[in-house]
Symmetry: C2
Subunit: 254 residues, 2 copies
């Protein structure tokens, strides 16, 4: 069966999309059938894979609001083993639209139903908030991967995120686990980076991936070429880091 | 009369809070009475000024949901001329709570009423979304200051933000203007930084501040000491940049 991993953190700009795109691409490069779901109205994961939201008739918005199936939404990417369920700008209004719906937190989970037979991994990229889009992502998932930027403000938001995860485990998805905690934008020249990384490892222990993603400009250049790092610059430290992360994720999941 | 400036951009991690805290502190250091309103459930602006949300009975959440006044909420900071209306974690649920309220977009604007006589500038720090908290911030404001990080993904979200601003101008706040566009985390060693800055200046022309905020680790260290940059390290490039920005904002506002 498939493993559904949601990538979430309400703190903005911590590397959720960069991790979703490059981890999914890393696994696909190893011929592992993978789906990436772009649940963020900003649709960065969609453009990070070189695709334009305006090119699609249907998107994740239609799945959430008018019973469209994943089958009708999923598109191919430049990597054979990687498919995408694209975002759309209409998702901006989805949170307000979902509020009044019945079982509004479960819509994504129900829609995923059959898809789990087709893919070994399904990743969900979330927006920087704890609203109904992220709640749908956490309710649909087997586990959550938490990127944490090596910055002070990024540490602050953790307790709120863990509270939300506990709430989801109690009320919406009792099997939700923490897949892992990923240190991102690590810069070994900065004391702040080292301090934050130490605190994260002290707080989360075993859950923290051995791989820390280093700050690497090639990672921030690659979306402007519409390519995951493995296709843009496979020799870069950023690409090596994400391939190492892919192996760790595979190890944890047998 | 006072000038109410909302700091908004739905892209995460672009420097909204860093700008809100350090611009407000920069003006206060010039003895200009300033209020900072923390509208983000993450409450980074509150902790960036060395304050703890749990220490307060009332917060912006109470203003939005149960008619508490700003008078009852505002607290002093380390700077004589800077006051803060603190955030609280309860704001996480506010967007859903606001959906059903009458004139839900105008609550903040109405509550600000009398406050405008006390301060020369009021800044509002927004969360990374275009939900009802940010909409309240844009409806209450005279103008919006848009921080843009020198990154590709940060450029992508601009058209969505401008669409939202146009919508607000048409339906909720016809006097809303763009106060300015601020280039943040500029690193002159990176081509990507230069390219993005060029594109921003080409797109926004005169609206872009002459001051670009450079990437400077002292800016990301200062919140861990609970101090705005001017109190943490006034000689740093980050502090100089924000003081230069403060002068530009003063120039634009007579
Ligand atoms: N390791 C890294 N090195 C350098 N730049 C990075 C790295 N990881 C991410 N970035 C850049 O930092 C910015 C923020 O990353 P990203 O957009 O992935 O974060 P996010 O958490 O998805 O943001 P949001 O909260 O807006 O969804 C992007 O411009 C990205 O290109
Ligand atoms: N010029 C700068 N140089 C170095 N670091 C910076 C700079 N500006 C901001 N930072 C750091 O980058 C991170 C993101 O900035 P900040 O939190 O202010 O952005 P934001 O837009 O308010 O984020 P959010 O979308 O989560 O509200 C913070 O850790 C901050 O300390
Ligand atoms: Mg993202
Ligand atoms: Mg912020």
């Amino acid at each position: 069966d498939t493993k559904i991993i949601t990538i979430a953190n309400q703190k903005g700009g911590v590397g959720k999309t960069t991790t979703a795109v490059n981890l999914a691409a890393g696994l696909a490069a190893c011929e592992i059938p993978t789906l990436l779901i772009d649940l963020d109205p900003q649709s960065n994961a969609t453009s990070g894979l070189g695709l334009e939201t305006s090119a699609f008739q249907r998107s994740v918005y239609d799945i959430l609001t008018n019973n469209t199936t994943f089958d009708e939404t999923i598109v191919n990417t430049q990597l054979d083993c990687l498919d995408l369920a694209p975002s759309s700008h209409q998702l901006v209004g989805a949170e307000v639209e979902l509020v009044g719906m019945l079982a509004r937190e479960h819509i994504l989970r129900k829609a995923l139903g059959e898809m789990t037979k087709r893919y070994d991994f399904i990743f969900i990229d979330c927006p920087p908030s704890l609203g109904l889009l992220t709640v749908n992502g956490l309710t649909a998932a087997d586990s959550v991967l938490i990127p944490i930027q090596c910055e002070y403000y990024a540490l602050e938001g953790l307790s709120q995120l863990l509270n939300t995860i506990r709430l989801i485990q109690r009320q919406l998805n009792k099997n939700l686990e923490i897949e892992g905690v990923l240190i991102t934008m690590y810069d070994s020249r900065l004391n702040l980076s080292k301090q934050v990384a130490e605190e994260v490892r002290a707080y989360f222990g075993e859950k923290v991936y051995k791989t820390a993603i280093q700050r690497n400009v090639r990672l921030s250049e690659s979306p402007s070429y519409g390519k995951p790092i493995i296709l843009y610059d496979a020799s870069s430290i950023g690409s090596q880091n994400y391939m190492a992360l892919a192996s760790e994720v595979l190890e944890h999941n047998g």
